[in-house]
Amino acid sequence: MRWLWVLMLLLPSLATAYEAQPLAANPQAEARLKALAVELRCLVCQNQTLADSNAPLAEDLRREVREMIAKDMSDKEIIDFLVTRYGDFVLYRPPWKLTTTLLWLGPFLLLGAGATGLVFALRRRQKKLTDVTLSEAEHGRVAKLLSEGVHRP
């Protein structure tokens, strides 16, 4: 009976899980592909990088990049290859250009505008507080209220 239990416990070891497909024979090339793929956009599912996407085009582009790595092309050459075909949009980090200035500076402009608005609002409030002057009679009433409390009718 015991051997049956042992056999049953050993059974799962027969179920071999396959490792994810080795992306290339050369681990160095694979590391380069990974580093490049996170910088490149999948054009089909536009909010994913080439590394994340399973779209057929992304697979093809990874194959293309892998082949270029095998041909010993530099990162810049590989990125240029894709940009000449797909435009700057293929880059996950858009380059600094005249057309992308607003994209890069926009958040800082908004932050600046918000900070300026805040400073102005605070100053105005401060002015309002200091501008208030009390007459002699009002001072007397304040003192009276503080010492006696409010008498509600």
Binding site: P56, D60, V83, R85, Y86, G87, F89
Partner: protein, 175 residues
């Protein structure tokens, strides 16, 4: 009054931006290839795999290159437009069967009609990458010198054909 006008003004500006943003199509990316030489290709033909179709043979005339596939839904939408254009005989259309299976592509053309002069087979999708294809159907207008003059992303429609593509084709043909 002022207190409400400023947030309201900001609200209107934001709504304006969103309204414009909603009408833009994020799938339509400007192609950097327009105005550049069309990438060369030399591929087996769909109807006769022994024969080769090369982009060099097409120099000297204005032609359309249409990337399609039997698995592509948009291609079926635009198909009647292509058939209609082919019947008019105004401009030759060459097909590029993109990442497809030969038997299915042939069956598809048999069923829906063949508007193409010749169909090239780009099974691994390499020519597609050279042309910057990221979603079929895509159509390119290529001039007599072999320069890409226009790229249509997504299905062709009669109105696009009439307003943009055919005037351009006629102008290029007269050059």
């Amino acid at each position: 009054m002022n207190r409400f006008l400023i947030p309201f003004g900001l609200f209107i500006v934001v709504v304006g931006f969103l309204a414009v943003g909603l009408t833009l199509n994020p799938r339509e990316l400007p192609s950097p290839l327009v105005g550049k030489a069309a990438p060369e290709f030399s591929l087996p033909q769909l109807h006769d795999s022994g024969k080769v179709i090369s982009s060099n043979e097409l120099k000297g005339k204005v032609w359309l290159l249409n990337f399609w596939a039997s698995w592509c839904g948009g291609c079926k939408d635009e198909h009647p437009v292509l058939i209609h254009l082919a019947q008019s005989g105004e401009v030759p259309i060459y097909g590029m069967d993109y990442k497809d299976q030969r038997s299915e592509a042939l069956a598809w053309l048999k069923e829906w009609g063949n508007p193409y002069q010749i169909v090239a087979v780009d099974e691994p999708g390499r020519v597609g990458i050279n042309y910057g294809v990221y979603g079929v159907p895509e159509t390119y207008v290529i001039d007599k010198q072999g320069v890409i003059r226009y790229k249509q992303i997504g299905p062709l429609r009669e109105d696009i054909l009439e307003k943009k593509i055919m005037p351009l084709v006629r102008e290029l043909q007269n050059q």
